[in-house]
């Protein structure tokens, strides 16, 4: 059991402009029951709650952990109360504030609904200009579109167990976001030897060269812990769209931007020159095993 049970944490889950995807993703957490047992839920958009949105919006209560899902739109109201007012009221006393999803972290998908005014809680993409800037010390960003349930499970468990959560410069827990989405992909060997996927819908090849995969530039543990305990985008042939980064959503998701057939962006922390040197060498080899089909159903029987 990952949690201490002596003290219940009061938890409040509010929403800005959202698709509810983070709420639904969280419901998939395998140890959801344990987490819920250790918390008093003041309000959650779909789980049984101690309060109604009507009482929450009177701004007379307080919570230990404030969770916010969705883009912050300064003109938005919940039950006729400005979301900004709700946020500032509950943020003041909360010990921790968790932004779930890229919308709440950086603006994300629904920043585009009103680009001039919408943002995340602390960040507007990477600029420090969100409504909870003054409380930024307490804010943990769990970026992702949506969050992986384990990321919130981890964060709540760490809080319950009174362990310190170390974060990066974008306030993301480093134990979750130091990895790249590329780590653990079943196509890693193709990446190393620069063998691209000829087309979508194949087991073979890497999606970085032509199909738009951003996993080498994206901080996330998707391919380490897997989604729904079973798979990941890249394992099932879909490129990583970089949904945990402040610049999500970008454009042309299924195509790599290239320069003289070399990807424009190279893996995080690797200089373009080193990358080109290694790539140039790797490409000179023709490795039959990597150029063939992994499984040949036609001749196998």
């Amino acid at each position: 059991m990952p949690l201490k049970s002596d003290k219940k944490l009061t938890l409040l889950w509010l929403q800005g402009l959202t698709c509810n995807g983070n709420s639904h993703s969280f419901l998939n957490l395998s140890y959801l029951a344990d987490v819920l047992l250790a918390c008093d839920i003041l309000y959650h958009p779909s789980l049984p709650s101690l309060q109604t949105l009507e009482t929450i919006s009177t701004c007379k209560l307080e919570c230990d952990v404030l969770i916010f899902e969705g883009t912050f739109d300064p003109l938005m109201q919940r039950n006729n109360v400005m979301v900004g007012k709700l946020l500032r009221h509950y943020a003041q006393k909360a010990r921790h504030i968790i932004a779930v999803g890229s919308c709440a972290s950086f603006g994300g998908m629904f920043k585009a609904s009103a680009p001039q005014r919408n943002s995340g809680l602390v960040f507007n993409e990477t600029a420090h200009e969100g409504p909870l800037l003054q409380y930024q010390e307490k804010v943990i960003n769990l970026s992702g579109c949506p969050i992986h349930p384990e990321w919130l499970g981890y964060t709540l468990s760490m809080i319950l167990q009174e362990k310190k959560i170390l974060v990066d410069s974008l306030h993301r827990p480093i134990e979750l976001y130091s990895y790249l989405a590329h780590h653990g992909c079943t196509r890693n060997e193709y990446f190393e030897w620069k063998v691209d996927s000829k087309k979508f819908g194949e087991k073979e090849g890497c999606l970085y060269y032509e199909q738009g995969c951003r996993a080498p530039m994206t901080h996330a543990s998707c391919n380490k812990i897997l989604w729904n305990d079973v798979s990941s985008k890249t394992r099932s042939g879909t490129p990583c769209f970089g949904c945990t980064e402040p610049d999500f959503p970008r454009a042309n998701f299924f195509r790599t931007k290239t320069n003289m057939s070399i990807p424009d962006e190279v893996p995080v922390g690797i200089s373009k020159r080193s990358y080109l040197t290694v790539a140039g060498i790797a490409k000179t080899f023709h490795i039959k095993r990597l150029e063939e089909k992994l499984i040949d159903y036609k001749t196998a029987d």
């Binding site: 029951a33 049984p48 949105l53 819908g201 998701f253």
Partner: protein, 432 residues
Amino acid sequence: MITKQLIEQIEGEATVHFTMNGNTVDFATVAFPHFRGMERILQGKNALDALVITPRVCGICGHAHLMASVRALESAYVHMSQDIQLSTKAQMIREFTLLMEIVQNHYKWIYLTLIPELGKLMPLSNMSTPLKGAFAASLASKALASFSGQWPHSSYMLPGGVTCDPTHMERIKAQSYLRELIAFFENETLGIDLETFLSFESCKEIRSLSSDISRIEQSLLSLGMHEKGFAYDRFVVFGNHGFSVPSKMKQTRSYSVKSKYVSIKDSYSPQEKTFAKNALYKNDYYETGPLARAMTNSVPIIRNIHRRFKDSAYSRVVARIFEIASLLQHALELLKLMELSETSLTMPEPIHTLTAEGIGIVEAPRGVLIHKVSIEEGLIRNYEIITPTQWNIGSDTKESLTPVQLAMQGVTQEEALFIFRTFDVCSVCTTH
């Protein structure tokens, strides 16, 4: 006097404004206050980007949006006389993942919406926890993600097929999650095995059980929900799948449907600003969703229930729960028949060669979902989304009530709020 009621714990937020006539509802209007401008966000984007953006319309039925999007793009290719070759394998995988999303939706609806709402109207003993709903939904998502990579928000369908190329290993894993889910459904919800349940032809047989479903059925009866919540007794189904037949139905007679007769109309909501629009067929309102699908599919038990209780709140609820059973069985069948040596995807001409209009229609958990796209040299010129809640939960004047407005008329306010939820409201989809 008009009273306002905030509807919480649906997908998003809604309000209903009631005009009462003594103790009963004379007229009610519905408002959906939040708006994200999805259609505008899509304008000017690479048409393939719709496959990443539209699933984000909705966290609970994003997969249905993905499928509507990919069908819209494929239809645009076909309109440009470019062949789209979908292998049987790709079709089956798409259908399987769509089914699993519907199942997780219905499961959550039973345990996170229906049971708590029933509990507000009457004491419920022995009724189980919301965690049951979450657990079953997570099993469905595992089976789904075995092909789609993840749920929510997968983008694994592309024009011409699917991006995954699974081995039998993934298929067998999905089978084992599905079997676990079926066992859970049998033990925790039905109290009888799936096959016997599917052979039921009358609600008396449901009553003979002792389980969540029989307790739900009993509560509905004792609340008189078989005599309340009637809409127009007109149904519409548009999505073409192995589990649905496109047609419209007036009472029990069915007719063919054409998407060109679908139209959109502004909502009537004098008390509060709303961003929703109503969907109509040949200028009439129709109900869509599980009850409509069961009626047009001639599911014996639902036809029998309908004979006695018409399109009451009771029929609507039972149809949604029964649909889980038939979809689970259909899903098993698909996994058994799936042939994996076929190609996953046949790439059509590059997207920038495409200048055409397309339409994609699917059955989402709550009913008909339509995406219309107009593309110019691979870029989206215009995108239009019509969601199931726009059919069921529109808001119009007293002279032309929408299905939900009609269903709430003549009952108490408390009952009306329950009936409202029997349509399974999705506010985020409605005001996309």
